[in-house]
Structures are given as structure tokens and as C-alpha cells.
């Protein structure tokens, strides 16, 4: 089987660049034949992972980068969002529904973001260790074209 093609975009972990990632990934998804609704879902999912990097990965010191790999498999788009920031203990991720009275600062954090990634993609996983960065992998299958 041929090696899958890969589109890699790396941007500073700053909020203004999350829209750039959305544009790049939606371009790849459109080329693969995803429906408009699927492309919107993918945009939200990848933005949630990037937003998490922007908000949490580099709390002190110089801001690093967020790297987004779009891997084009025959019938699936795989997206890997990674950083080399502070990382976290994945056991501490909680669903926002488990925290109805979460701190009232107007930001839901990774809990709701992960809910979106899980709901909008066909599969996802988060790997992180304190001090060793975070990798979020997700994938979505291309809808079968009617013949």
C-alpha cells in the first residue's frame, strides 16, 4: 500500500492562528470528498485541539508552536495535533456535564472541547504526560460515494 500523503502545518500557539489551521484542514478535507457538513465538523474538532494548545500548553515562558498533520488515507482523514508544552495528566480530564457549576470564568477548557471532538469525529485519543507535551489524534471516514 502506498504511503499516505501528509499535509503538515505548524503555527505559533497564538489564538489568531487557529483560523489558519481551520482553513488548511478544511481544504484537505474538501479535496478528499467530504460533505460540507463533515467539513464543518472537522473544522470544529481540529480547532478544539488547537485551542487547547493555545490556552493551556505554554502557561509560562516563551510560547511554542502547534503542529497539525493531516494524513490522507484512502478512505479516512487522520489529524494529529501536537505540542511540546507542559502536558497534563489525562486522568484529570472531566466532562463539563460532570461539572455543572464549573468555575465561572467563561471558558470551558478541554472538557467541552473533547466532547466536541468525540461527537464530531469517528474516533479520537489524547496522549499526554506532565512536562512532555500533548498529542491529540482523531480521524473521520470519507462518506461512501453513491455509484
Amino acid at each position: 500500500m502506498a504511503t499516505p500523503q501528509k499535509v503538515v502545518v505548524e503555527v505559533p500557539a497564538e489564538s489568531e492562528f487557529v483560523a489558519v489551521i481551520r482553513l488548511a484542514v478544511s481544504g484537505v478535507a474538501a479535496r478528499m470528498g467530504f460533505t460540507l457538513e463533515d467539513i464543518e465538523d472537522i473544522k470544529v474538532a481540529v480547532s478544539e485541539a488547537c485551542t487547547n494548545v493555545v490556552q493551556h500548553a505554554y502557561p509560562v515562558g516563551p510560547r511554542g508552536v502547534v503542529k497539525v498533520e493531516s494524513i490522507i488515507h484512502q478512505d479516512t482523514l487522520e489529524i494529529v495535533v501536537s505540542d511540546s508544552g507542559s502536558g497534563f495528566d489525562t486522568h484529570h480530564i472531566v466532562s463539563p456535564k460532570m461539572q455543572p457549576d464549573a468555575p465561572d470564568h467563561g471558558v470551558f477548557g478541554l472538557g467541552l472541547g473533547l466532547t466536541f471532538i468525540r461527537s464530531l469525529m469517528d474516533g479520537s485519543e489524547v496522549a499526554s504526560q506532565p512536562g512532555e507535551g500533548t498529542v491529540v489524534r482523531m480521524h473521520k471516514r470519507v462518506p461512501v460515494q453513491p455509484s
Binding site: 489564538s15 481551520r22 464543518e40 470544529v44 485551542t51 467563561g106 471558558v107 467541552l112 466532547t115 466536541f116
Partner: protein, 114 residues
């Protein structure tokens, strides 16, 4: 194509209407948060948030809206969100926010009449 983000307030009707154009994400939501916070301080009524020209919203935008809705509900005021876009409605529905103190409307006239 990226549409430039803007937020405006129309205070001429029965309820104040906040109209948003563009994408609501981690970069733009502080601007929305500022406008909503200022409006809620100036007005004592419920608030209509018109998202008809918003085609993208994620958890950061929802967090901003939920925060304002929670502040409003403490004073028995409400947040009426207007959108007919399936993708935006879907994001609200997945979040579960519409079951709390946010009501979705497809037309601004209906949101203002409540």
C-alpha cells in the same frame, strides 16, 4: 474565505440585540465577551444574540455565551440566541447548553417577542 469579525448592538427594539458576523473562536470571543458584559451592565432586560451571520462557533464561543447567560439568569433575565444554521444549532445541542438558560430561535422577530 475569512469574513471579518464584528459585533454590534441594536438597542432600538423591545430587547437589545447583539449581532455577530464572522467566526466565533478563541481569537474573536474576547470581543464578544466585552460587548455582552458592557450591555448587561447597561441594560436590565433579557438579551437577544443574533448569530444568523455566524457560520462557525466552537467551545470558546459557547463558553462566552454560557457565562453571560448564567449572569443573566441570576437576575431572572434570559439569553435568546437566533440562528437557523444547522451547524451552529448542532454545536449548541451537543454542548447541552440549550437545556439550561439559553433558548434558540430561528428568527430574530420571534426571539424579540418572547
Amino acid at each position: 474565505m475569512v469574513i471579518e469579525f464584528s459585533v454590534s448592538v441594536d438597542s432600538n427594539g423591545l430587547l437589545p440585540v447583539v449581532r455577530v458576523v464572522g467566526e466565533i473562536d478563541v481569537y474573536t470571543c474576547p470581543k464578544l465577551h466585552k460587548v455582552l458584559t458592557e450591555l448587561m451592565g447597561e441594560s436590565s432586560s433579557s438579551v437577544v444574540l443574533d448569530l444568523q451571520e455566524v457560520h462557525y462557533i466552537d467551545s470558546t464561543g459557547l463558553g462566552t455565551i454560557a457565562h453571560s447567560a448564567r449572569q443573566l439568569s441570576k437576575e431572572n433575565r434570559h439569553m435568546h440566541v437566533v440562528t437557523a444554521r444547522p451547524q451552529v444549532k448542532k454545536i449548541f445541542e451537543i454542548s447541552g447548553l440549550t437545556s439550561k438558560n439559553i433558548r434558540l430561535f430561528e428568527e430574530e422577530s420571534h426571539a424579540c417577542a418572547e
